[in-house]
């Protein structure tokens, strides 16, 4: 345990040095909430398949309960129940498009995690930083429960619980609980909890901030107080179901899965479940009484309960859909929490875009008309009117626009176009458009993964640390 504690001290010190300008001390946020005892109990696991590169290097780290795929290097780090998915990394010879330039990728990209502490964090996608195309780095960084580091190289940052940084290089910044940032590049920023910020300089800038008092009911986490709130309760209540999935070596799902679809063996599925063609259900997804139409997906840490997704639905990492009916092509962004009830169903019409980190929590039935952009915190019909707009109307914005606590400046058509393009890319990458021959994606490729486990030293001075391991084809 001494080795882990020493490693922890080193990581905290390095993060604090980076965050000194913001006068942010990570120690009170993490010191009592790191499950050191648990870190010795759980095995790590990695996937191998003919469709994914294989190059793992683990050195001087603890990897408890974490999952690795693709090309990853982990050094001097503590990773607890985190998913490091290197299945979308760039390949040697790829051309990276950036501001009219085509930059060739000189070698296969790898995820490089150094001197960092990641708790139940998802790392996915690839580096969008044109300066580090071959290295998706995460260094001197601490991320807390259910954070997403998605295509976002990080140096000296702290991410709160349920925070997401997406397609953004971040340096020396603090990302508050349940904040979402997609801004290309940020430095020395302290982002308030519940901020949703999407910016492409010169094109558009979108910002919404959740009301802090209301957000605290869903997620509250501050110095000296463990993460708590409805979101934590929701996940904790379903933790046991995952226990069985991780305890059993060979698990067979009883649910029929078409040849073109994939239901990960580390997902929880509680019948009745319908899995359509080209459906992707990732590890750590939770399905209960769920109907997933053709091309729908449920990514890591998603929960779909008593709900129906008509098809080509993107349910991004960490999104939760409860007692809801979703039309086709509905996009639900990262960590959104959409909660209807048995007598208060949530109905979202086709082609809607639910912004990342949206909260819908209703006691009366609610219908969102097709083709709407939705954001913020919605608990009633009245809230919906203040937190949604027809996509067609949004595309006409040219200049400044505000609605309640949402501010937008720039070209509305560019904002919507960017989202639609990205949704199409996600569906394509996930294999939603697979036609039996072409357009294979994760749904088809992930069927051929086998899993292997790794374990730490059980006793002795290195107790809890994993031995240095290099795994290559």
């Amino acid at each position: 345990m001494k080795s882990i504690q020493k490693l922890y001290d080193r990581i905290v010190q390095r993060a604090n040095i980076n965050l000194r300008e913001l006068e942010f001390d990570v120690n009170p946020y993490v010191q009592n909430f790191i499950p050191f005892e648990q870190m010795i109990k759980f095995y790590a696991f990695f996937g191998i398949s003919p469709h994914h590169r294989l190059n793992f290097q683990f050195k001087q780290s603890n990897l408890a309960g974490s999952y690795f795929l693709g090309q990853c290097k982990i050094t001097n780090s503590l990773l607890y129940k985190s998913d490091i998915r290197g299945d979308e990394l760039k390949k040697e010879g790829d051309l990276f498009q950036y501001q009219g330039f085509e930059i060739p990728v000189s070698r296969d990209e790898e995820i490089d995690i150094t001197d960092s502490l990641l708790i139940k964090t998802l790392v996915h996608n690839f580096s969008h930083d044109p300066e580090t195309l071959e290295e998706f780095f995460i260094k001197d960084t601490i991320s807390m429960n259910y954070a997403n580091i998605h295509g976002a190289p990080s140096d000296g940052c702290f991410l709160g619980a349920f925070a997401t940084v997406d397609l953004t290089t971040m340096r020396d910044s603090v990302i508050g609980n349940f904040a979402y940032v997609q801004a290309g590049e940020i430095s020395h920023l302290d982002i308030a909890p519940g901020t949703v910020w999407v910016r492409v300089p010169g094109e558009f800038n979108f910002m919404y901030t959740h009301p802090q008092d209301e957000l605290k009911h869903y997620i509250y986490f501050t110095a000296g107080i463990a993460p708590q709130g409805q979101l934590i309760d929701f996940v904790e209540d379903r933790k046991e179901a995952f226990q069985r999935v991780f305890d059993v070596v060979n698990i067979e799902h009883s649910i029929p899965v078409p040849n073109s679809a994939s239901l990960d063996r580390y997902a929880v599925s509680k019948p009745p479940i319908h899995i359509g063609e080209n459906v992707l259900v990732s590890q750590r997804a939770f399905l209960q009484n769920a109907w997933l139409g053709k091309g729908a997906n449920a990514q890591e840490n998603c929960y779909i309960i008593n709900s129906r997704l008509e098809g080509c639905n993107v349910t991004a990492h960490g999104a939760k859909i409860i007692e809801a009916d979703m039309g086709t092509n509905v996009f639900v962004g990262f960590n959104s929490f959409l909660k209807g009830g048995p007598d208060s169903r949530l109905n979202i019409g086709k082609d809607c875009i639910v912004m990342p980190h949206t909260i819908i929590d209703i006691k009366e039935p609610l219908e969102i008309p097709e083709g709407h952009l939705v954001w913020g915190m919605i608990k009633s019909e009245k809230d919906l009117k203040r937190h949604s707009i027809a996509i067609e109307d949004f595309t006409k914005i040219d200049g400044g626009f505000s609605m309640g606590n949402m501010f937008f400046e720039g070209d509305g058509a560019s904002f919507i176009g960017g989202f639609k393009e990205r949704i199409h890319h996600i569906l394509e990458a996930n294999g939603a458009f697979f036609n039996g021959g072409d357009k294979k994606g994760h749904a088809q490729k992930n069927q051929y993964i086998s899993f292997n486990t790794l374990q730490p030293y059980p006793e002795g001075p290195k107790k809890g640390l994993y031995p240095t391991i290099v795994i290559k084809p």
């Binding site: 801004a183 308030a192 800038n205 400044g400 505000s402 606590n405 501010f407 400046e409």
Partner: protein, 185 residues
Amino acid sequence: MNYIVKDLMVPISDYATISEGSTFLDALLALEPPNVDLGARIHPHWIVLVLDSNEKVVGKLSQINMLRALEPTTEDVKNIDKLSRFGFGAHFITQLRENLRLDDTSIESMYTSSEILQMKVEDFMKELADNDFIDENTSLATAAHQMSVRKRLSMLVTREKEVIGILKLSDVFTAVIHAIKSTTG
């Protein structure tokens, strides 16, 4: 003439002073002498110095500090103000502030709000830092440089550790013009 700071400064006795614990209204009354002539644009020295119980200068209140103290601090205003840190344009932010002012009638009463008028000066004064002070024997060139790089409209002039006067940017600038004219003319 080779000016130095003490040639240009205004003696501290010319300035209004108030004690810590005074209110916004006290500061306002101290700042405005009864014979001020707004029509003729004759203004006194628009700074109030804040003294602690040992009569030591611990802060100063300028016009900008007073105006900032009058700013409403509602959640809506805070949300708009923070936009500038996130890349939103100045024009858009100004427009949002104007719209908010029109929507929020409470802003109309900000000049009579007892909450604002009774605010303690410590809450909105500019606390003094090392770079607010300048020695009385500093040359004009160095003083001009320091005011320029430190973006100061005024600095406190010291003899040993005692504050003896105020150096104003307008006086420094006038002296610079003088110096230029005397060398070129």
